[in-house]
C-alpha cells in the first residue's frame, strides 16, 4: 500500500474498470466517484480555476486604479469586476478550497472510511461548477454580469418604483441563482461534516481527542448552517422583488432597504469566520508539529473557537453603522468582545513555540506568515469596531485593506501552509521546499506592498468601489505601489501552481509520515488507500500517531 503514486485509477476497487479504454474509464471514475479524497481533489481543482478567474479580475482593477483618471476599462466593467472578484473569491475559491481540505482530512483525522453521506458529498461538489457556470454565464448576457458589488444592496440591486431595474439586464438574477446554488452546496457539505464527526469517529476518539482542524471544520459547519439559509432567503426576497413585484425593500410600498442589510450581514459576518476558522485549524496542526510540541492549550483553543462562533453571530450590524439605523454602542461592544477569543488563539500559537525545536519548512513559514498578517487584520478590525472611527473608515480603502489582511492571510498564507503540509499525504510526494521559500518571500512582500498602501489611502479618505479618482486627491502613489504588489502576489500564486503540477509527477517520494506529525491521517499510507486505513493506532490523546511513534514521551507521562 505504500507505493501509491498520484494516479487516480490505482485505488483498488474503483478505477481501471476497462483496461482497453483507460481515459474513458478514468474520466467516468472521476465524475462518478463518491470517494471523499477524490472529491476533495476535485474541489481543489475547481477552486484553483476560479481563483485564476478572480485573480485576473483583481488584475483588471489594479491596472485601472494604478494611475489617476485611467481609462483602461469603463466604469461599468470596473463595477462588474469588483462584484465578480468578491463573489468568486468568497464563494468559488475560498469556500470550495476549504471544502477540499475538509473533505480530504476530516474523515482521515477521525479515522473514518469516508464521509457519512458519500453521494450527498458528490452532489455538493458538483453544485460548485454548476453555480460557477451560472455566475459566469452572465458575461454572455446583453448587459453583462452583476455590477452592484457582492453585498448587492437594494434599491441598487432591486427595481425602482416604476419597475425598471437600476442595474439593467439579468446579471443580478443570475448572481442570485448562483449564490443560492453555492449556498445549498455548502449547507449540504456542512451537514455531512457534522454527521461524519459525530457518528463515524474511530474507537477511542472522544470529542476532546478530535484534531483541532476537524474541530474548526465542525464549528465552521454549524456557522454555515446557521447563516447560509438566511442569506438564501434574503436573496429569494430580492429576486421576488425584482421579478414578481415583491417590493420587500421598497419604502414607497412599506418595505425597507435596511431590512436587506440586516439579512445580508447576519450571514455576511459569520461568513468571515466560515472562511477563517478552518484556516486557524490548519495553522494549529502545523505549528505544533514543526515546534515538536503539542498545541498549547488544546481545550482553551476549542473554547475560543466556540466563543468566536457564538460572538460572530452577534456583531453583524457593525457593517451598518453609517446607515443611521443601528444602535452603535451595542454592536461596538460585541465587536470589541470578539477580539478576546481571537487574542487567546494568538497567544496559544505563540506559546506553542516556546521551548520548541522549530523547523522552518515552507509549511511552517506560511503558518507564521498567517499569524503575522492575521494580526494586522485583527488589529485594524478594532479601529472599525469602535463605531466612531468607523464613521470615517467605513467604505474606504482602509476597510478593503483590513479584510484583505484577514482573508488573504487565510486564503493564501493559511492555505499554502496547509498544502505544503498535506500534499505529501494527498499525493505521496513532497512539494519542492526551495520553491516554497521563494514563494513565501514573494507573497510576504506582495501582500504588504499591495495592502499597506491601500490602508494609507483609505485613511486619507479614498472610498472603495470607485473606478477612478482625480490626481488632485493625491492617492496616485499608493495605488501605483499597490498595483505593483499585485504582480508579486500573482507570481507567488503561479509558482505554487507550477510546484504542484511538477511535484505531482517528479516530487520526492514522501513516505507515510514525512513530518513525524501527530494526527490520525498520518497513520495510513501516502496517499491513503480507497478505504483509508489498514489499521488504526491506539487513540489515547489528541495525538495518536505521536503517541505510537514516541513511546518514550508516553512512558514518562509526558504526552
Amino acid at each position: 500500500m505504500t507505493t501509491h503514486t498520484f494516479t487516480p485509477d490505482q485505488s483498488p476497487g474503483v478505477g481501471a474498470v476497462r483496461v482497453t479504454r483507460p481515459y474513458r474509464a478514468v474520466f467516468l471514475d472521476w465524475i462518478t466517484t463518491t470517494d471523499h479524497k477524490k472529491i476533495g481533489t476535485m474541489y481543489a481543482i475547481a477552486a484553483s480555476v476560479f481563483f485564476l478567474i478572480g485573480g485576473i479580475l483583481a488584475g483588471i482593477m489594479r491596472i485601472q486604479l494604478a494611475i489617476p483618471e485611467n481609462d483602461f476599462v469603463t466604469r461599468d466593467v470596473f463595477n462588474q469586476s469588483f462584484t465578480m472578484h468578491g463573489t468568486i473569491m468568497v464563494f468559488l475559491f475560498l469556500m470550495p478550497m476549504l471544502a477540499a481540505l475538509g473533505n480530504w482530512m476530516v474523515p482521515l483525522q477521525v479515522g473514518a472510511a469516508d464521509m457519512a453521506y458519500p453521494k450527498v458529498n458528490a452532489l455538493a461538489f458538483w453544485m460548485i461548477p454548476l453555480g460557477g457556470t451560472v455566475l459566469l454565464l452572465s458575461y454572455l448576457m446583453p448587459n453583462g454580469p452583476h455590477a452592484g458589488s457582492w453585498v448587492s444592496y437594494p434599491p441598487l440591486a432591486d427595481v425602482s418604483e416604476s419597475g425598471t431595474a437600476f442595474l439593467p439586464g439579468h446579471g443580478v438574477d443570475l448572481w442570485i441563482g448562483a449564490i443560492a446554488i453555492l449556498g445549498i452546496s455548502s449547507t449540504l457539505g456542512s451537514i455531512n461534516f457534522i454527521v461524519t464527526v459525530y457518528k463515524m469517529r474511530a474507537p477511542g476518539m472522544t470529542m476532546l481527542r478530535v484534531p483541532i482542524f476537524t474541530w474548526t471544520v465542525i464549528v465552521q459547519s454549524f456557522l454555515a448552517i446557521f447563516s447560509l439559509p438566511v442569506v438564501t432567503a434574503g436573496l429569494a426576497m430580492l429576486w421576488i422583488s425584482r421579478n414578481l413585484g415583491g417590493r420587500f425593500f421598497d419604502p414607497s410600498a412599506g418595505g425597507d432597504p435596511i431590512l436587506y442589510q440586516h439579512i445580508f450581514w447576519y450571514f455576511g459576518h459569520p461568513e468571515v469566520y466560515i472562511l477563517v476558522l478552518p484556516v486557524m485549524g490548519v495553522v494549529s496542526e502545523i505549528i505544533p508539529v514543526f515546534s515538536r510540541k503539542p498545541l498549547f492549550g488544546y481545550k482553551a483553543f476549542i473554547f475560543a473557537t466556540l466563543s468566536i462562533a457564538a460572538l460572530g453571530t452577534m456583531v453583524w450590524a457593525h457593517h451598518m453603522f453609517t446607515t443611521g439605523a443601528i444602535q452603535v454602542h451595542f454592536f461596538a461592544f460585541t465587536s470589541f468582545l470578539i477580539s478576546v477569543p481571537t487574542g487567546v488563539k494568538m497567544f496559544n500559537w505563540t506559546a506553542t513555540m516556546y521551548k520548541g525545536k522549530i523547523e522552518f519548512t515552507s509549511a511552517m513559514l506560511f503558518a507564521l506568515g498567517f499569524l503575522m498578517m492575521f494580526l494586522i487584520g485583527g488589529i485594524t478590525g478594532v479601529f472599525n469596531a469602535t463605531g466612531g472611527l468607523d464613521f470615517s473608515l467605513h467604505d474606504t480603502y482602509f476597510v478593503v485593506s483590513h479584510f484583505h489582511y484577514v482573508l488573504v492571510s487565510a486564503a493564501l498564507f493559511g492555505l499554502f501552509a496547509g498544502f505544503y503540509y498535506w500534499f505529501p499525504k494527498m499525493s505521496g510526494r513532497m512539494l519542492n521546499e526551495t520553491v516554497g521559500k521563494v514563494q513565501f518571500v514573494l507573497l510576504f512582500l506582495g501582500v504588504n506592498f499591495t495592502f499597506l498602501p491601500q490602508m494609507l489611502v483609505g485613511l486619507d479618505g479614498m472610498p472603495r468601489r470607485i473606478p477612478t479618482y482625480t490626481e488632485e486627491e493625491g492617492w496616485g502613489l499608493g495605488n501605483l505601489i499597490s498595483s505593483y504588489g499585485y504582480i508579486l502576489i500573482a507570481l507567488a500564486a503561479i509558482l505554487f501552481l507550477l510546484n504542484v503540477l511538477l511535484s505531482m509527477r517528479r516530487g520526492k517520494i514522501s513516505g507515510d509520515n514525512p513530518w513525524d506529525a501527530y494526527a490520525l491521517e498520518w497513520a495510513t499510507s501516502s496517499p491513503p488507500p480507497y478505504y483509508n486505513f489498514d489499521r488504526l493506532p491506539l487513540i489515547r490523546s489528541e495525538r495518536p500517531v505521536f503517541d505510537e511513534n514516541h513511546p518514550e514521551a508516553v512512558a514518562t507521562g509526558d504526552h
Binding site: 434599491p155 487574542g343 466612531g388 467605513h394 510576504f444
Partner: protein
C-alpha cells in the same frame, strides 16, 4: 523517517525583522487627515488612543512571535530528542483572556464617549430659536443618481406658485459620463456654529462623506438621516459619495466651502433676496400676461397672439422648474421618493407644466 532539517533560520528571521520594521514605519506615518470639525476632533483623539494601543499590541505580539521563532529554532547540533511536551497552563490562559478583555473594556469606554459626541445634537425645540438668531444652520442634502443637491430651508421665499422655495446649490446631473471637474457643486457652510444636515435619497442609497470631517452618513430612501457638525477651519474641502450607487458613483463629488459665519449669512441673505426679487418679477410677468391674454380674447384675434403667449409660458415654466424641481420634503419620505422620477429632466417637467396650462 525525518526529513533533512532546514536549520538555517537567518533568512526568515531577517526577513521578518525587515518587514516588521517596514510595516511599523508605514503604520507610524499613517494617520487620518486633520479634522475640520469639533466632532472630527473627538474622532481624532479616539484614533490616537486606538492607534497607540494598536502599535503597542502589534509590537508586543509580532515581537513575541519573532522572538519565539528565532530563539527556539532547531540548532545545527540538535540531538533529535523531543523538547518538553508542554500541554498548556490554565493560569496563563486566564491571564491572556483577562488582559485583552480589560484592554477592550477601556477602549469601549473611550468609544462610547466618542459615539455620544458624534450623535449629540441641539434639541429639536431649541434649534429653531438658534436658527432665528443665526446661531445654527440647517441644510438639506439630497443624493440622486449621480449628483448631490443642497438646500437651505431657513433661507426661502414664496415663489410665483405660492410654494416656499429655499436657496439651493444644484450640481449638474452626470447621466452621461462626464468631465466632472466643472460641475462639482460647492456646499457653503458657516464656521463655528452647529450645522444640521438632513440626508435624503431619491433613488438608491448614497453616502455623504467629507473625508476631513472624519464622518459619513448614508442617504437611504425612505429614511431621513441627520447629523450635526460644527466646522472649525475655513477653506474648501472635497467630498464624495461613499456608497456604491451605480455606474457613475465615482463622479458624485462635491466641495464644501467653510466660510466665516458673517460672510455666509450675508451670502445666504443676498441669495434669498435675489430669489424674492425674481419671484416678484415672475408674478408681475404672469399678471401682465393674464391681462394680455384676457385682452387678446376680447379682441377675438386668437391666431398669432396665442402662439406668442405659449412661447412666453415655456420660458417662465422652465424657470419655475429650476426652482421647484429638487425641492425636498424632509417630513415625508414617501413624497421624497416619489419625486425620484420627476427629477430626471427639467425639460420634461416643463413640458408637463406647459401641457397642464394649456
Amino acid at each position: 523517517m525525518r526529513r533533512s532539517p532546514t536549520n538555517d533560520c537567518r533568512i526568515p528571521s531577517a526577513l521578518f525583522l525587515l518587514l516588521g520594521a517596514t510595516v511599523l514605519l508605514a503604520g507610524c506615518a499613517a494617520g487620518q487627515p486633520d479634522s475640520i470639525t469639533e466632532e472630527g476632533d473627538s474622532v481624532r483623539s479616539l484614533y490616537k488612543w486606538v492607534f497607540g494601543l494598536a502599535v503597542l499590541i502589534f509590537l508586543a505580539v509580532e515581537g513575541a512571535i519573532l522572538f519565539m521563532a528565532v530563539k527556539f529554532r532547531r540548532r545545527k547540533n540538535d540531538d533529535g530528542s523531543l523538547p518538553p511536551q508542554i500541554h498548556g497552563d490554565n493560569r496563563l490562559e486566564v491571564v491572556w483572556t483577562i488582559t485583552p478583555l480589560a484592554i477592550v473594556l477601556v477602549l469601549f469606554v473611550l468609544a462610547y464617549q466618542n459615539i455620544n459626541d458624534l450623535q449629540a445634537e441641539v434639541p429639536a425645540d431649541e434649534i429653531q430659536a438658534l436658527v432665528d438668531q443665526d446661531k445654527a444652520l440647517r441644510v438639506d442634502v439630497t443624493g440622486l443618481q449621480w449628483v448631490w443637491q443642497f438646500a437651505y430651508p431657513d433661507f426661502a421665499w414664496q415663489n410665483s406658485e405660492g410654494d416656499m422655495s429655499p436657496v439651493k446649490i444644484l450640481g449638474e446631473n452626470t447621466n452621461t459620463i462626464p468631465e466632472t471637474a466643472g460641475s462639482v457643486p460647492t456646499l457653503r457652510v458657516p464656521l463655528g456654529i452647529p450645522v444640521q444636515f438632513k440626508l435624503h435619497a431619491l433613488d438608491v442609497i448614497h453616502s455623504f462623506y467629507i473625508p476631513q470631517t472624519l464622518y459619513k452618513l448614508d442617504a437611504v430612501p425612505g429614511r431621513v438621516n441627520h447629523f450635526e457638525m460644527t466646522f472649525t477651519e475655513t477653506g474648501i474641502y472635497n467630498g464624495q459619495c461613499a456608497e456604491l450607487c451605480g455606474t457613475s458613483h465615482a463622479d458624485m463629488r462635491f466641495r464644501v466651502e467653510v466660510m466665516p459665519a458673517d460672510d455666509f449669512f450675508a451670502w445666504a441673505a443676498s441669495e434669498q433676496a435675489k430669489g424674492e426679487t425674481s419671484a416678484l418679477a415672475d408674478i408681475a410677468a404672469e399678471e401682465a400676461e393674464e391681462a394680455a391674454e384676457a385682452e387678446a380674447a376680447n379682441d377675438d384675434g386668437t391666431g398669432t397672439s396665442a402662439n406668442d403667449s405659449s412661447e412666453e409660458n415655456t420660458e417662465s415654466a422652465t424657470e419655475d422648474t429650476s426652482g421647484t424641481e429638487t425641492e425636498t420634503n424632509p417630513a415625508s419620505p414617501g413624497e421624497a421618493t416619489s419625486n425620484a422620477t420627476d427629477t430626471g429632466s427639467g425639460v420634461e417637467q416643463a413640458d408637463q407644466v406647459l401641457s397642464e396650462r394649456e
